[in-house]
Each structure stands twice: as C-alpha cells, then as structure tokens.
C-alpha cells in the first residue's frame, strides 16, 4: 500500500478518528495520554494538504477523550466525549477553550453522535448506563434514556431523526423512538439480544453465544433497518430492527480480539469496515446482496481485506464521505493516524 498518509499523535493514544462531513481535507482525532487510563486528553484537528497531514488546531482536555462527533450545522465545530463524564464543544476557529461544556454523566462519557437529519441535537453514552440527548445551545440535557449498564456506543438512524440506538455491556442493542410517549419505558421500542440464539434454527455458524459486551454498532447507510454490532466476542453481526428476536442476518468472523469500532460504507450498502484490539482493520462484505436460501439463516459475510499496519490496538476507523469512495482513516494506540484507500486491500498493487 504505497499511498498511505501518516500522522503521529506524539504522546497521545488515539481513541477516535472522524472525517469532517463538510470537507474532504479535514479530520479530527480524539486522543488520551497514557492509553486513556489516567491523564489528560487532546483533540487534534488535522488538515490534508499538499505537504501531507498538518495540524490545524489542538485542544487539551483535563481527562481522556474517548470519542468525538463533527457538528452537522457548523463546519468548524465538533463535540468530544471525555473521561470525566463531560462533553465539550470546540470551535476550530477559536483558541484553547470549549464553546460549551455539557457535564451530567457520572462516569466516563464514551460515545457521541450528531443527529444527521435535523442536525440540531447530539447524543452521548456513558459508563454510567445512560444515553443523553443534548442541544448544542443548552447546557442541560434534553432527555436522559436509561440503559442500566455501561453503554459503549450510541447512534442515530441515518434517515429518521427520532430513532436512537445504544449498545451496551449487557449484550443488548436498544432502540428508542422519541416519537413514542415517554412512558415507563422511556421511549424504548425494541431490544435486540445480540448474543441470543435466533428464534429460527441457526445456519452453518452458531449465531448465538454467551453474552458479551458490545463495544460498537452502526446503522447501514442504505438499508435503514439494518444495524451491525461488534464487541468482545470478536464477531460482527448484522440485525434487522424490524425483527429484534430474529437473530443476526449475517455473521462476520475473523478478528482475533474484541471489535472496538465498526462503520458501514457511505458508498456501498453491503460493505463495512471494523477496527479491533487485534491491531487490524478489516473490510467486510455482509453477503446481503447474495440470494437467500429457502430457510432463513444467518449468512457468513466475506472478509475482503485486512489492514495490518497498526502496531497497537486500533480504536478508531472512519470512511471519507467524498471522492471516488474507499478512503479510510484509522487510528490506534500506536499514536498513529493512517489514511489509506480501502480499495487497495481488495486489489493489492
């Protein structure tokens, strides 16, 4: 892979990397000193220039940064999730200090996502077992959704601004619809037991298993009822939220340690990429475009390539929205951010 760009986050271990939704030349990296165990964090806003990757701005936080999300309404702003439970909104046009601080989580804030449709709110999830919905203009949360156990990942449906999903350590994927009344279930409309055996007989690979923490999940950008999950059991599964107990649609096995982050391609409906503690990034086809057999079973997805240039846990991976499609940013505890073309994984030159 000749065309690989590299940036070093000297002294800081990345936990998340995200492409700007506005510019193909802008990337943000959320990092933490001492592997996020103790110490401060640093947000890097990077620019891709003719001279390679340049630092546009850095912001320091007094605890680790575990995740970040670009604002969808202001091209210069982005929110970070911090180890002290706070969320901080930074503006690249300003210096040093956050524009807003949102501090309600009682433990590590671990994930954040910006509403891609209405663009006027964002969510966060935390080890305190809650998901909170925020407006960038209000210091207090709009709504708190109780999960009950360490929630590693929260996301919006890409087409419906009212649908929020959360993946947690209790091996469940929860779905909240804010259009429903806030009854005793706090907008909870579906719960997917990710590791439960499906209600119909399993396929060639056992679809169920012992419960394990789910660390990451993402909505398919084309099929808006499909979600992929990944976690401690190393397996990537896809589910159709219309059939929460139906078991996985497809299974992708290959990672040798926990799957830390995964994201669907913005360019193809059956392609996703995953980052893992096994120091690799893997490219997958979920086999959804292949014809289904007479008995509905979980289909084995195909691994299309492995990127093994990282030398430590890979914690972040993201697709570039622009261009021909296939550019990926990955970041890991080896203090490196790598930009590379996933197409080269399939057709090595």
């Amino acid at each position: 892979m000749a065309a690989m760009l590299e940036f070093r986050t000297q002294g800081y271990n990345p936990y998340a990397v995200k492409y700007s939704p506005y510019h193909d030349s802008r990337i943000a990296v959320g990092t933490a000193a001492n592997f996020g165990i103790v110490g401060n964090g640093r947000l890097f806003a990077l620019a891709l220039t003719a001279q390679g990757i340049q630092v546009e701005k850095t912001f320091d936080t007094n605890d680790a940064i575990y995740d970040l999300a670009w604002s969808e309404i202001n091209e210069n702003q982005l929110v970070v999730a911090c180890g002290d439970g706070s969320l901080k909104l930074f503006d690249i046009g300003l210096r040093e200090f956050p524009v807003m601080i949102f501090h309600e989580h009682k433990r590590e804030a671990f994930a954040t996502a910006w509403n891609p449709v209405t663009k006027d709110n964002f969510i966060s999830s935390s080890w305190d077992g809650t998901v909170k919905i925020w407006s960038p203009t209000r210091p207090f949360s709009i709504t708190t959704l109780p999960i009950g156990s360490c929630t590693y990942s929260a996301s919006y449906c890409p087409s419906n601004p009212s649908l929020i999903s959360a993946a947690s350590s209790d091996s469940h994927l929860r779905l909240f619809d804010l259009r429903t009344p806030s009854s005793a279930k706090y907008h909870l409309v579906a719960t997917v037991p990710v590791h439960a055996a499906p209600s119909h007989p399993g396929g060639p690979i056992p679809a169920g298993g012992p419960p394990a923490e789910i660390l990451t999940h993402d909505w398919n950008k084309y099929r808006d009822t499909v979600i992929a999950t990944g976690g401690v059991d190393r397996m990537i599964r896809t589910f159709d939220i219309r059939n929460p107990s139906g078991g996985p649609l497809s299974l992708m096995h290959g990672h040798e340690y926990a799957v830390r982050r995964l994201t669907w391609s913005p360019h193809a409906s059956d392609v996703l990429i995953s980052a893992s503690y096994d120091m690799t990034v893997r490219l997958w086809n979920d086999a959804s475009s292949q014809p289904q057999g007479p008995v509905p079973t979980a289909r084995p997805g195909a691994q299309m390539g492995v990127m093994n240039r990282h030398t430590e846990f890979v914690t972040g991976v993201d697709w570039c929205l622009f261009g021909a499609g296939g550019w990926v940013a990955s970041a890991g505890w080896d203090e490196r951010v790598l930009l590379w073309d996933a197409n080269l994984l399939m057709h090595p030159r």
Partner: protein, 419 residues
C-alpha cells in the same frame, strides 16, 4: 474516575470474560453501600419435637432481636424499621412481631412489619430493608424472619378458589401441593432417587462435620425457651443453642431405605427434603457511612437482589432463573462467586438448579442445608445471610450468593460480600 476501573474494563474487553473486573468493582467500598453489622439466628429445632416446639414465632423473634442488639451494641432507638418474614402465622404475625420488638428492648420509635413471600420471606425482608436504606427512607433497619412450624402448621393457610380461578390452569396449579409437584418435576426432569439421596446425605455429612467443628457457633444466638415434656406434661426452661435436626452417620445407602412420601414409586422422602423446623434469624443493615459514624463493625455488604417467576408446577426451578439475574445485576459471573447458599427445599430441585447452572458442588452449601438442619419457611432467607457471611469470613473468601425456590412458582436470589 479511577484508573483501576478503566484498566479492568479494558482488560475485560481483551480477555473476553464478560464480567472481568466485576469482582473488583464489587469489592470496592463506597459510603452509600448497604452493609451488614450483625447477623445471627436461633438454633433450628425439629417441628413438634425440638426445644422450640412450644415457643411462638413472636418469642423466637424477640430472642433473635435481643441477640442482634447485644452483638451490635446499637442504640435500639436508632433502628427505624424491622421487616419480618413469616409464612404460616395468621396475618404473617404482624401484631406479635411489633410486640416482640418491645420485648427485645426496642422503643416505640422502631416500626415493625410482617411480610410473606412464602419461602423467600426472610430474604425479601432483608432486601426490603436494604432498598429502604438505598432509597433514603431509613438509615438503619433489620431484616428478619420468624417461624413456628410447630404451632402454625395446618391446612387452613389457603382459602377456596372461585370458579373463575378454576378455569385458569396456571391459577389451579398454584394450589398443587409442593410434595406432589416436586415429585412430578423430579420424574419429568429425570432426577433419580440415587442422586437425590447422594446429595441429601452430603448435606447431612457436611452439617454434622460443621457442627462438630463448632462452625455454627458464630451464627447461632442461644435463646431461652419453655418446653413441655410430652409424657409428664411438665414445663421446664431450656437454653436452645444447637440445631437438633442433624443426624450423624447418614449415607446415601441409609437414605435409600426410606419410603417415598408422596407417591408409591416416587423418589422424594423425609430424608431428601427439607425438615419442618422452628427458628428465627435477623440481619442488621445500614448505610456504610452510618455504620462508620456509629463505630459499628461491618461484616458484610448487600449488593443486589432479584426475584423471578417460573411455572407454578416447576417452582423448584426458581433459583435456576433467579441466580443468573442477581449475578447480572451485581455485574459478575457465577465463577466470581465463592459460596452459593441454595435452599434445599428438596434435594431434587436444588441439585437440578445447581447442575443446570454448572455450579461446582463444592461451592454449594458448605455447611449443609435445609435437608440437614431445617427450613423454617419465613426464616431461611435471613438465616442464609449469617450462614454465608460467617463461612466466607472463616475461609477468607469474599463473594456469596443466596437463593431459594418459592411456592406458586417463583425464585429469589441475592449477592453479598463479606468484609
């Protein structure tokens, strides 16, 4: 945000243990923990025969409450509520138990209530009090159980079902006698008489060994009782400080000779089911910050509790469903638990639950159980706490689980930590 918690969290994600770090988290001490500063029980004596055969439940309770006050040396006026589990007394003994508090030395400041969730009443009482403390309703309370199966046993316990009830099969099943449904369950699940007798014999052997080694000394509070000699009809006062249900020399072979109790070709008999007994138990609970302020000696911590429903005819499966739920709430796996106190209502159901959950037998009831020393219905849940905490302490272990099946098809379980 402690670095240790973060390391254990990440470590768990790598090792693949779904609850890695859960144990460490459980052992942490926080000011708002609900802790135990005293736990004891009376001896359990045989229904209709033993030292407590003529002692009402209220008197048993008064005895054990007095012991809690003596052991903890707490100012009785600081105890805000006492919850007492009881199954057989009319009204679960509400009036007698309030009176018992006065006899034990409490003032009018201490509220008392009686409750009945069948065989888990004692545990329900402890959990209720713990939850009251957690919710901030009270700072200090006692969870207890008291039962005189000698004086309150009888068929008057259940009223007639209406016609509507008779139409509902599960409702009807709620009335099927425990012996019969356990017999059917043992047959359906293929739990042979031989394995039941083996399990029961081990319960006796463990209990006898523990008694000989004096391992019950810490948990049993001696209580004075008046007892009538059945022959001479003379009353005399005795001090009861020893379980009398344990029999030495019981083996699987000797149990194999006993006739089945509920069906001619059945497998359940007096030797492999829990004994009918009298007794009481109590657990003093408070917030850790309160305990430290008062200089109370903390012996354990309540972590989490769970209650579940199962089919009424399969009530023996209660612990099988309740234990994983309690462990999940505590954030640990079964491997993190050092001792399981599973009530031995019947050897068949206890054994089945343990095997289904793949709990190693050496972790279950190390000092024997209800088969060997009795199951005064409303007491067992509170009794298990002292049995467990003292055994954890003696063996230098930390995490314990208590559980039981419940008539009409339920199960309860709780997680405790010894300190």
């Amino acid at each position: 945000m402690s670095a240790v918690a973060r390391i254990s969290q990440i470590g768990g994600q790598i090792s693949g243990n779904p609850t890695a770090g859960g144990r460490e988290k459980l052992l942490e001490k926080h000011p708002d923990d609900v802790v135990v500063t005293a736990a004891c029980r009376t001896a359990f004596t045989k229904g209709g025969k033993g030292g407590f055969k003529d002692t009402p439940a209220g008197d048993l309770l008064a005895g054990v409450l007095k012991a809690v006050l003596e052991r903890s040396k707490i100012n009785p006026a600081l105890v805000e509520d006492i919850a007492v589990g009881n199954v057989l007394a009319p009204g679960a003994g509400a009036t007698e138990f309030r009176a018992a508090a006065f006899v034990a030395g409490f003032t009018e400041d201490t509220a008392v209530r009686a409750l009945n969730r069948q065989c888990s009443s004692g545990l329900q009482a402890c959990i209720d009090v713990a939850n009251q403390i957690k919710a901030g309703m009270i700072d200090i309370g006692i969870g207890a159980g008291a039962e005189s199966m000698s004086l309150n046993y009888g068929p008057a316990a259940v009223s007639e079902f209406s016609d509507d009830f008779q139409q509902n099969q599960e409702a009807v099943n709620c009335k099927v006698p425990m012996g019969k449904l356990s017999e059917d369950m043992a047959k359906d699940l293929g739990i042979s008489r031989a394995v039941q007798d083996d399990f029961a014999a081990k319960s006796y052997q463990k209990a006898v060994k523990a008694q000989k080694a004096g391992l019950f000394k810490d948990e049993i509070a001696p209580v004075k009782a008046k007892v009538q000699d059945p022959k001479t009809e003379e009353w005399k006062e005795v001090i009861v400080d020893r379980d009398d249900g344990m029999r030495d020399g019981i083996t699987a072979e000797s149990l194999a000779k006993i006739r089945p109790a509920f069906a001619k070709d059945g497998s359940i008999h007096a030797g492999n089911a829990s004994q009918i007994s009298d007794g009481a138990a109590a657990v003093l609970l408070m917030r850790r910050s309160t305990a430290e302020k008062l200089g109370q000696q903390i012996i354990g911590k309540y972590v989490a509790g769970a209650v579940v429903g199962v089919k009424p005819l399969l009530m023996g499966q209660g612990p099988w469903k309740a234990i994983p739920k309690a462990l999940e709430k505590a954030g640990i796996s079964k491997d993190d638990v050092d001792i399981f106190e599973i009530n031995e209502a019947f050897a068949s159901q206890c054994l089945w639950c343990a095997n289904q959950l793949e709990i190693p037998h050496e972790k279950i009831n190390p000092k024997g159980g209800a088969i060997a020393f009795g199951h005064p219905l409303g007491v067992t849940g509170a009794r298990q706490v002292s049995t467990l905490l003292y055994e954890l302490k003696r063996t230098g272990k930390k995490i314990g689980n208590t559980s039981m099946c419940i008539g009409t098809g339920m199960g309860m379980s709780a997680v405790w930590v010894a300190e």
